[in-house]
């Protein structure tokens, strides 16, 4: 599964278990929210930036992850400048940058499938509450399968409405599309049930995921 923000490299950070990375991230983010000292925040950001070479990832990737929050950060820093002083504004920028870059690093170095496996291990105790990991696996696989199906249905509806000269009307597109995909989901749900899907079967969530990513071409039989 290479979809997503994951970037492959052979490094210590990549090999760390996803559970440890997530735990470290939550520990770090709690700490950084509590820290008020601007020097400590600068050191924290420096440390996070040093993790990128350690993960054998170019700093340009850090920049690409940092850029989307630039506008929000600028607004928050400006508000801070207005209410207090430049130290406050700099603190906001440092804190947010460190937090976002470390979180991005976890996503850059952890495959989505490994992340799902870590989650499935974490939710296993929930089975006692009646939430089966297999159901979670099914629902994730279904969601990923539905995305291209919705795009397909949208094309069909667009074509039909073009014949009526309505292809630019948002409601004339959305409403038939919505009804179509709801019907499609009902049929798929019934089809899965008809094929004796047993949600309480104790198969591992990651198996479902792996099968899905290995044979994408055979999954068209809804």
């Amino acid at each position: 599964m290479s979809v997503g923000v994951y970037v492959h490299a052979d490094s210590v950070v990549h090999r760390l278990s996803p559970g440890i990375k997530l735990a470290a991230l939550f520990g770090f983010s709690t700490l950084i929210v509590l820290v008020r000292d601007v020097v400590a925040l600068a050191v924290a950001l420096g440390l996070v930036l040093m993790l990128f070479p350690l993960a054998r990832l170019p700093l340009s990737l850090a920049w690409r992850q940092w850029r989307p929050i630039l506008v929000v950060m600028a607004i928050l820093a400006a508000v801070q400048l207005f209410y207090s002083d430049w130290v406050g504004a700099v603190s906001v920028v440092l804190r947010l940058s460190a937090l976002v870059l470390l979180a991005a690093l976890v996503s850059l170095t952890t495959k989505a499938s490994d992340m799902i496996e870590a989650i499935s291990r974490a939710v296993r105790p929930l089975a006692y509450l009646g939430i089966s990991p297999t159901r979670i696996g099914l629902v994730i696989s279904l969601a990923l399968r539905f995305i291209p199906l919705i795009a397909e249905q949208l094309e069909e509806v667009k074509e039909a409405q073009r014949a009526r000269g309505l292809e630019r009307n948002v409601l004339a597109l959305t409403i038939p599309l919505m009804v179509r995909v709801l019907k499609m989901a009902t049929e798929i749900g019934d089809a899965i049930e008809a094929r004796s899907f047993d949600p309480d079967d104790a198969r591992r969530l990651s198996d479902l995921w792996r099968r899905r990513s290995e044979q994408p071409s055979e999954r068209n039989d809804h």
Binding site: I69, A143, M178, G189, E193
Partner: protein, 181 residues
Amino acid sequence: MSTRDLAYIALFAAIMAALAIFPPLMLPIGVPITAQSMGPMLAGLILGARRGGLSILLFVVLVAIGLPLLAGGRGGLGIVMGPTGGFIIGWIPAAFAIGWLTERFWNGLNPINAFLIAVFGSVVVSYAVGIPWTAAVAGIGLDQAFWPMLAFVPGDCLKAAVAVVVALTVKRAYPLIPARS
């Protein structure tokens, strides 16, 4: 929860992802409006509390594990934990609240009360999570995080109006919430 319900939950998570392909509309004051925040309203209004909330939860999990499903192809923990992450997390209780109220008002649902429900969920509930989150993550005061976010309210009202028209038509054509006696 039946297999059909699982399919609806998966469907609305996928609809959230599909909404990301619509290019963001820029307001004159430089605030982007993305179609994506219409997703929680549609999920709540069409599926109800439990299924609607779970579908948005599923979507947020998919984004958090690194799939680029947010508007602009963004995804990963960097966005979810970032300054505006609370608004993404806030979509979950927003969809749940909208769904809960929709179920309560299902028999007498009309454009006006449905619009109020959608605005309540997408403005009051999701901002109640998003603004304290921004304040905590950025380490600033609640009031300082509050004012900039008001710029998004007009866009949210516009989206609520579209979501309500769609949801009410779907209610007539393909109702998924059982009528209350």
